[in-house]
């Protein structure tokens, strides 16, 4: 099953997929170019049946000056979780929103925006969701936002 997914994606997007592998049973990881993530997402949903969005996470790789955005989508009949990921530069964190693909990503993307400052183009409502209304300063989940240490450390 997982291999079929890998082959299908590879066959349809030979140039845009940077890395694709099966991590274990039921887990497929697809790394794509930044500007094609929308098309791959659409392909995953319509052709392969990954219709249930599970999470959208940002990861801050501060050493490489990059953010990674990971969309986890679950396929209800195939029973596979696909991780669709892409890297974007840290100084220009803009990505096309996938809300049109997975409507459920609405709040996930909004949260990623406020926690990392990643701007999702085409998202209907990017405003603070969880943070206090008067939040100022850098988004908290970036690595350069540092929490206090234990006093004895």
């Amino acid at each position: 099953m997982e291999d079929r997914v890998v082959e299908d994606v590879k066959a349809s997007f030979p140039d845009d997929v940077l890395e694709i592998d099966v991590q274990r049973r039921g887990r497929v990881s697809i790394s794509v170019k930044r500007d094609r993530i929308y098309d791959v997402g659409l392909f995953l949903r319509d052709k392969l049946g990954f219709d249930h969005i599970a999470s959208v996470s940002g990861v801050d790789y501060i050493d490489k000056k990059e953010f990674e955005v990971v969309y986890h989508a679950w396929s209800i009949d195939k029973k596979i979780l696909a991780a669709l990921r892409t890297r974007i530069p840290r100084d220009n964190p803009v990505l096309k929103s996938l809300v049109d693909v997975w409507e459920g990503a609405l709040y996930h993307e909004r949260e990623t925006w406020e926690m990392f400052g990643i701007k999702f183009e085409g998202h209907p409502n990017l405003s603070l969701l969880l943070l206090p209304e008067d939040w100022e300063g850098i988004p908290p989940l970036r690595k350069d936002f540092i929490l206090p240490k234990r006093p004895q450390e």
Binding site: G26, R27, D51, H52, I53, A54, S55, S57, V59, D60, V70, H72, I76, K79, L81, A83, W102, E103, G104, A105, L106, Y107, H108, E111, M115, L128, L129, L130, L131, P132, P140, L141, F145, L147, K149
Partner: protein, 362 residues
């Protein structure tokens, strides 16, 4: 006109809704969440793996602490490759199912109080105490158990636990009949809840709804069946689904799930093998670091699917821990459903989704 509901409101608890109302009809629904946002994902990066167990537990220590910790513990075990003993797996299942029952009873009580059935609140909360007593025997705490740990569980079953548990389950099964009588078969209740807030299966999938709410719409999706973790593949149980996807289905889904939990518990209590409860018999030998890499674990908690996405850079603290919580994933449902509905139906629709604010905000 804009109407603001909460955060001090008998139904909404920590949430605030911003409603566009025209007379009695609600035109638009907007969430205002974040009243309990603590930044647990950031705090997790500040602590070592084993310290994080109680931290992530606070996400939903509200009702379903075992389901929450189980997901975290599993993702760490997957990354580090720790095998856990058979008995620990069974104990985890037992604790998780007991907690599921307690959580569903809590949910049913809220459904009752939102519709003005105070008896239902008193009965269910009282029966929940029976289950909490069992969990106290198992772990020593009423709500925040911190029971599963990396490499096993913290405590073994005390003597006489099995008999006690079976007795209480028998009692609870009888009580379920009463609940059905009071709720599901009750005309007044049906009038209030039937055909209110119908969520179609296609919409439910599209919006990414999880757990009993998704199953109430008729989609058969349960992590315990789809991707069995621990020993769920050894038990014989059903995944109940609803027909219409209305508030009534969602409310009674919780009762049906309690029934199935009792079925699982009976089997687990019968089959549980003897042996150690933690990774190594001499005590915990947990490696202090996790290898470089990433893992994603899925767990079916009472409110639905928990997803833990862990990225490790080989150090003793997580590099990134993303927690995808069921209530957060259920958020899009209400703005979708609450269009052109009477204001009086908002609490009914809201409460059947069983949102936990702490779970949304993290």
């Amino acid at each position: 006109m804009k109407l603001s509901m909460g955060p001090q409101h008998p139904v909404t608890s920590h949430f605030r809704f911003i409603l566009d109302v025209d007379g009695d009809a609600v035109l638009n629904f907007e969430w205002d969440v974040g009243y309990t946002h603590r930044g647990i994902e950031k705090m997790a990066e500040n602590r070592i793996y084993i310290q994080n167990i109680p931290v992530v537990e606070r996400i939903n220590s509200y009702c379903d602490a075992i389901g929450t910790t189980l997901g975290y513990v599993e993702v760490v075990e997957e990354l580090t490759g720790i095998e856990i003993p058979e008995r620990a797996k069974y104990l985890r299942v037992i604790a998780a199912e007991l907690n599921r029952i307690a959580s569903h009873l809590y949910a049913v009580s809220l459904v009752g109080i939102s519709a003005g059935f105070e008896t239902m609140l008193m009965w269910t909360i009282n029966d929940r105490e029976l289950i909490l007593d069992l969990l106290v025997k198992l772990s020593g705490q009423r709500i925040t158990y911190t029971y599963p740990t990396i490499g096993g569980v913290r405590w073994d079953m005390p003597d006489g636990f099995k008999e006690d548990a079976l007795k209480r389950l028998d009692y609870l099964e009888k009580r379920l009949e009463d609940y059905y009588k009071m709720m599901a078969w009750n005309r007044t209740f049906q009038m209030r809840f039937k055909n209110v807030g119908i969520l179609k299966p296609s919409d439910a999938v599209k919006l990414g709804i999880v757990g009993p709410n998704l199953r109430a719409s008729g989609v058969k999706a349960d992590v315990r069946k789809d991707e069995p973790y621990e020993v769920y593949d050894r038990f014989d149980f059903e995944v109940p689904t609803g027909k219409n996807g209305d508030s009534f289905d969602r409310a009674s889904m919780r009762l049906k799930e309690i029934e199935q939990s009792i079925v699982i518990l009976r089997q687990a209590l019968k089959d549980i093998p003897k042996g150690p409860i933690k990774g190594s018999p001499k005590g915990s030998k947990i490696p202090p670091t996790a290898p470089r890499g990433e893992a994603y674990s899925r767990v079916e908690s009472a409110r639905g699917e928990f997803g833990y996405y862990l990225v490790s850079d080989g150090k003793s603290k997580p590099y990134r821990l993303k927690i995808s919580t069921p209530s957060f994933r259920n958020l899009p449902a209400l703005p979708h459903l609450c269009r052109n509905v009477p204001l009086g139906d908002i609490p009914v629709i809201f409460i059947t989704f069983d949102y936990i604010p702490l779970d949304v905000d993290r």
